[in-house]
């Protein structure tokens, strides 16, 4: 438009005389003024409204009428009124014309075609004309025969018009007739080679090769701008699209070279474009094509690829220019929300506002979507993807009690239906409506977008009555994949041949039971069990459906009756137990493949009469076997003849499937190489850190095409990196939707009941103060850490010192727990693993402590005196055996290491007397011996020490030897043991050496009849683990049972519902891990209220860690896009720690 007016100005020609096509004018005036009769003298008013500020800009609406036949006077006036009065007249006219035509795309966009839009109105007027008038029209616009379709084209359909401002390349003798048809041709002389240089770069403009031809004279008239040429050039000589150009405006002048004129370009899709079968053959093709141009940029694109690429770009650009947008089917988009649009043009002035609102409304939705979307919405993605409404309405399948003897909960029965459907075991699933359709849903391939066929507003359709093309189609929509430039009339449903999926129910909903119910319901491959030889390996139907990486190798024996379950080691026995609890069939059995306890797996699973229904193994075993095979020689995993890789399993289930989230780890790689017909993943947390975590899961499932890394990158990783979160999430959602089932505890079933009603959970933070020793140590390390961070911040290289600082932080956290932890490692911090800075000299600790002690220490003489007094009173070992604590009335105090004497020789339990001292001093009361009222000095207490040789001797009691946290724990346990003996308690820590210390101290402080300590950490063998767990679970009403649990070994999967109390000794960076730990006891099966105490040292790094946890909770941990971001986040956290 601007170009045009610029040209006019350059030429310096003013519009002196208008050249009328008189006939036309008459017809138009007669016809169109009819409806306006009431608004008399409108034509005279119009100039008034279009102010006369600038005489030059004064435009007679008539001029417009001349240019656009079929335009009513009021419409013209309205259009003019809308134009900028400051511009000169040419400008105004052209923008008015522009506005008029812009109505059409708007119309095309409309989702409610019933509502009368201006353009529709216009066409109504046109069609209501008398036949003679219409005939006249046809004649007027020149010969316009319905285009002869090319032989291959059965039909074509309008998709939109572009108003093109073309440039005259040849002068014309007279003005081009309004409405005359122009031909578009393409200079075919090896254009491609001229367009692209050898390296595939574009060197020439496509506009050079596209020309407009006056079809009457067969003479070139002009060219189109580059952006249009880009569309036309690649698409012109295909049958897939059809273009028609119509002359609209040329100022009614002769054209000189360089003049602008406006044409309307009508675009049509033809039947040809829909002929390729998108759901079938062509599906695989783009997948392969994709990797090449996208990633290997230095490879020269072949001519064919270039052609495809330009075609794709052209289509993309075309859709953009005709403003054809995909139909958004968001839930919040209701047809009612589209404001009522009235005939804007037919009404006058007053309606301008209304029009403006319409425009605003049209723009807004997309803006909102783009602007508001931020990283936090990954969380909502999670929600959107996973808590599908549909899962509520799944029918329930009750497993046959002959094979499965436990009762399933309602949602588990629904889950079973889903699981069976995913395996195409429709016979087993509850039969209501379980067809293939249901399983796949109407899930559209996310790369495809749905488009609505716009109303045919092409020139031909409107101005002539020969719209034969439109009537025969009644489909409302078509589908296009603009990434690959494919089209379809039918919904391109994503069909995956995958059998399997992700069961991602939240922790505690019983994923294990659900999957077991499926394993037992369909324990073997029924199709395969038909009387065939066991050795038969021609199971093409299974293998071909997967596109395995080792696809050519069909020779692996098929363990058609065995499900391999890969679990973390700690869960091995639990799975076995659950299997035994749930399996009802006599011959169904479960084997553990671990530690090389079996001979040849291949023989066991494929040659024996009754192979195990379930084979349990660990990630470690798989990884180990895989590594061994790789190291063994060239054959790799295919060389396996006995182990896990020698067989194709009927089904593989991986528990805690997020274990494989990092696809570069050996564990992950080894799992990928296992062969199976059906592949399942169980995980409560499909995304832990990165969106790409999901990729590993997709890859494991072999969910085509997403399991190809290129595909994933193009549609998920890259959009995400480019901050196109919505795009990435949309794709992820649609990838996952059919294959994932996730329910949360908060979800409600159809009747509105919670899926799971769990007893209440109370988490208390108990703040503990440092004792004197700890305080000194803590301050020492805090100083070191702070100066190190400050240095890093000052010099700006905090990142470089990152691991050093992490060590400092580790020290602080250790001091918070127990001074003896200093020097040990944090096995849970991935960033610290393998860090060598840890070997610091810890004599500093001793030195510090001695220094602090010396000032307050009592002299050796005094010590001897005190100890002697005790010795006198208790001359032999036996005299320690029958002492009563007058505070708790325990008698005898047991074990004797718990005895603490006051200076006056009275015996108490350590905890009792410490509590008494604390109680009294807190209230500033005198501390006197409860028995004799002799003044008690905390420094002059005497403890009993049992030496290694069995000798028992009194020693001065060291109040600092116990960490404050342990003391607090002891008190809590004492109270608990006092009040409810027989309780089971879980104590979590992330430092396994801290667990050791606690074990030692607990056994020293409680008698065996009062309390039993169990410890569960990574060092236990499998057998020991199951023993510890079963012993702990056994109820003993007389004594407290304490399970010391390392986060690493027992944070996931374990079921510890026998306990209803937990103590968390130290805070963890990740609140979700902490929650997961609590969920060990707060899950299905728990009948009591759960009480959790978290010990936090006051004024320490731990308090700040709590704050970081809060931050993580609100930000969502899942959003760490990449390594860098994660590190940045951590640096911020470090700064928070030292604020």
């Amino acid at each position: 438009m601007t170009e045009e007016s610029a040209n006019n100005n350059v030429n310096g020609e003013s519009l002196t005389k208008k050249r009328f096509f008189s006939e036309e004018l008459e017809v138009d005036n007669d016809q169109d003024h009819g409806p306006l009769e009431n608004q008399d003298s409108f034509l005279f008013q119009a100039p008034v409204t279009t102010s006369k500020v600038d005489s030059e800009s004064e435009v007679d609406p008539k001029e417009l009428l001349d240019m656009i036949p079929g335009l009513s006077g009021s419409q013209a006036a309205y259009l003019l009124a809308k134009t900028d009065t400051d511009s000169d007249r040419n400008m105004r006219i052209s923008s008015a014309v522009g506005m008029y035509f812009e109505q059409q795309p708007t119309q095309a966009l409309s989702k409610t075609p019933e509502k009368t839009r201006p353009a529709v109105k216009l066409s109504n007027i046109l069609s209501s004309r008398s036949p003679s008038a219409a005939r006249k029209k046809i004649r007027d616009y020149g010969e316009r025969l319905p285009k002869k379709p090319r032989p291959s084209v059965q039909w074509r359909r309008f998709i939109g018009s572009i108003q093109v401002s073309a440039l005259a390349t040849r002068p014309t003798a007279k003005p081009l007739k309004y409405g005359s048809e122009l031909k578009i041709i393409r200079n075919n002389s090896d254009a491609t080679s001229k367009l692209y240089s050898a390296n595939g770069r574009k060197k020439a403009s496509m506009a050079n090769f596209v020309r407009l031809i006056d079809s009457e004279l067969g003479r070139e008239v002009g060219r189109v701008p580059e952006e249009v040429a880009m569309v036309l050039f690649p698409l012109l000589d295909t049958d897939e699209l059809d273009f028609e150009a119509t002359m609209i405006y040329c100022n009614n002048r002769r054209l000189s070279v360089g003049d602008s004129f406006i044409i309307q370009l009508d675009c049509f899709l033809t039947s040809v474009v829909f002929e390729t079968d998108v759901n079938g053959s062509s599906k695989a093709k783009p997948a392969q094509n994709f990797e090449k141009p996208g990633y290997v940029t230095n490879v020269v694109e072949s001519e064919e690829e270039l052609r495809l690429k330009s075609r794709r770009l052209a289509l993309l650009s075309l859709f953009d220019q005709v403003q054809l947008r995909p139909v958004v089917t968001g839930p919040d988009e209701t047809p009612e929300s589209t404001p009522e649009v009235t005939e804007v043009i037919d009404l006058d002035g007053g309606d301008i506002e209304n029009h403006a609102t319409v425009e605003k409304d049209l723009i807004q939705p997309s803006q909102i979507q783009e602007d508001v979307l931020n990283v936090n919405q990954l969380k909502s993605l999670y929600k959107a993807t996973l808590s599908m409404e549909s899962s509520k309405h799944l029918p329930e399948t009750v497993p046959d009690p002959e094979v499965f003897k436990l009762d399933l909960r309602r949602y588990q029965k629904q889950g079973l239906t889903w699981l069976l459907r995913r395996e195409r075991e429709f016979d087993e699933a509850s039969n209501s409506g379980s067809s293939l359709e249901d399983v796949e849903g109407s899930m559209m391939n996310p790369l495809w977008k749905q488009f609505k066929w716009p109303k045919d507003l092409s020139w031909t359709a409107q101005k002539t009555q020969t719209d034969l093309s439109d009537t025969q189609h009644d489909e409302e929509f078509f589908y296009a994949n603009l990434h690959t430039a494919e089209f379809s009339q039918t919904k391109p449903v994503l069909k995956s041949l995958l059998k399997g999926g992700i069961l991602a129910d939240e922790m505690g909903l019983g994923k294990t039971i659900s999957i077991l119910s499926m394993i037992l319901t369909v324990p073997f491959d029924k199709k395969y069990l038909k009387p065939k030889l066991l050795e038969d390996t021609s199971r093409t139907e299974y293998i071909s459906s997967q596109g395995l990486s080792q696809a050519p190798n069909h020779t692996k024996p098929y363990a058609f009756g065995t499900t391999l379950v890969v679990v973390p080691m700690s869960l091995l026995s639990q799975w076995q137990l659950e299997f035994e609890k749930s399996s009802a069939a006599e011959n169904a059995h479960c084997e553990i493949y671990y530690g090389g306890n079996t001979g040849s797996l291949r023989t066991l699973l494929t040659k024996t009469k009754n192979p195990p229904v379930m084979l349990l193994t660990t990630y470690g075993t798989v990884q180990h076997e895989w590594s061994r095979l790789l190291n063994n020689g060239t054959a790799g995993v295919n060389g396996d003849t006995m182990g896990l890789f020698s067989i194709e399993f009927f089904r593989i289930v991986i528990d805690e499937g997020h274990t494989i989230r990092n696809r570069n780890t050996r564990t992950s790689k080894s799992l990928m190489d296992l062969s199976s017909a059906r592949r399942w993943i169980l995980t409560g947390t499909p995304i832990i850190n990165r969106l790409d975590d999901l990729y590993s899961l997709v890859k494991f499932m072999r969910l085509e095409p997403w399991s190809q890394v290129g595909y994933w990158k193009t549609f998920v990783s890259e959009p995400f990196e480019k901050k196109d979160y919505k795009g990435a999430f949309d794709v992820v959602s649609s990838i996952l939707e059919p294959v994932i089932l996730r329910r949360t505890k908060q979800m409600r079933d159809v009747d509105g009941n919670r899926l799971v009603e769990l007893p209440a959970k109370e988490v208390i933070v108990e703040r503990v103060t440092f004792n004197r020793h700890e305080d000194i140590l803590y301050k020492y390390f805090l100083n070191k850490a702070e100066s190190s961070v400050r240095e890093g911040l000052d010099r700006g290289d905090l990142l470089k010192k990152y691991s050093t600082i992490l060590v400092h932080i580790l020290r602080l956290r250790q001091v918070c727990c127990h001074a003896d932890l200093l020097g040990s490692r944090d096995e849970n911090d991935e960033d610290l693993a393998g860090n060598k800075v840890l070997t610091e000299n810890f004599n500093v600790k001793k030195a510090l402590l001695n220094e602090s002690m010396s000032t307050s220490m009592i002299s050796d003489d005094e010590t001897t005196m005190i100890l002697n007094r005790i010795r006198e009173k208790y001359p032999n070992d036996g005299s320690y055996r029958n002492l009563e604590c007058s505070i708790c009335t325990t008698e005898p105090i047991d074990p004797i290491t718990q005895i603490v004497f006051t200076e006056c020789g009275h015996a108490f339990c350590e905890m009792c007397i410490l509590e008494y001292i604390r109680f009294q001093s807190e209230r500033q009361r005198q501390i006197k011996c409860p028995n004799c009222r002799f003044e008690v000095d905390a420094k002059r207490l005497v403890a009993v020490k049992e030496c290694a040789n069995g000798e028992i001797k009194p020693v001065l009691y060291d109040t600092g030897s116990k960490s404050s946290k342990i003391t607090s724990l002891m008190k809590s346990l004492k109270r608990l043991q006092d009040a409810c003996p027989g309780e089971q308690v879980v104590i979590f820590s992330q430092f396994s050496s801290f667990l050791d210390i606690m074990e030692r101290e607990l056994t020293a402080s409680f008698s065996k009849s009062e309390l039993k300590v169990y410890k569960f950490d990574g060092r236990l063998s499998m057998k020991e683990r199951s023993k510890v767990l079963s012993d702990f679970a056994e109820k003993d009403l007389t004594k407290l049972k304490v399970l010391l649990l390392s986060l690493k070994a027992g944070g996931v999967g374990l079921n510890l519902t026998c306990a209803s109390r937990a103590f968390m000794m130290d805070p963890w960076w990740s609140p979700s891990l902490e929650d997961q730990a609590i969920d060990r006891i707060h899950r299905i099966g728990q009948v009591n209220d759960v009480k959790v105490v978290r010990f936090i040292m006051e004024h320490s790094i731990e308090e700040k860690m709590l704050r970081i946890q809060d931050r993580k909770r609100s930000l969502g941990e899942a959003v760490d896009a990449d390594e860098d971001e994660r590190r940045k986040r951590r640096i911020e956290e470090i700064q928070m720690l030292f604020e």
Partner: protein, 151 residues
């Protein structure tokens, strides 16, 4: 209700199985930290033949904190006020966690045997006691008969 420390259970059991002569203490059904107590007036005291009702409550901090004891029966005693509150060192500053319900109640009984008007709680009674000891004792006897006679 919060669970009961073992010590309290132990003490309660012993109060029942091995009661102190002249003293009963029965925990309340609803609240095991609340005891209904009776103490017989010591022989050769103005309170002889009387049975005095008391209440005893073990606070949460027991045994770090002393139990709370109060007379419910009206009594004329210089160390016990009209509300039944008792002035007794072991219930206040001289409490020690080594003491128990049993020992506390024995101390109360001993206080009945030997009133201490020099450290009074009920000033008017103490004055009376110091100035007209016989009359005071007579009044105590009378009150005992009037209010503390076992029905």
């Amino acid at each position: 209700m919060a669970s009961l420390p073992k010590r309290i259970i132990k003490e309660t059991e012993r109060l029942v199985s091995d009661p102190v002569p002249g003293i009963t203490a029965i925990p309340h059904e609803d609240n095991l930290r609340y005891f209904e107590v009776t103490i017989e007036g010591p022989e050769q005291s103005p309170y002889e033949n009387g049975v005095f009702g008391l209440e005893l409550f073990l606070p949460d901090d027991y045994p770090m904190e002393a139990p709370k004891v109060r007379f419910l029966t009206k009594i004329y005693h210089p160390n016990i006020d009209r509300l039944g509150r008792i002035c007794l060192d072991v219930l206040k500053t001289n409490w020690s966690p080594a003491l128990q319900i049993r020992t506390v109640l024995l101390s109360v009984q001993a206080l009945l045997a030997s009133p201490n008007p020099n450290d009074p709680l009920a000033n008017d009674v103490a004055e009376d006691w110091l100035q007209h000891e016989d009359a005071a004792i007579a009044k105590a006897r009378e009150w005992t008969k009037l209010y503390a006679t076992r029905q």
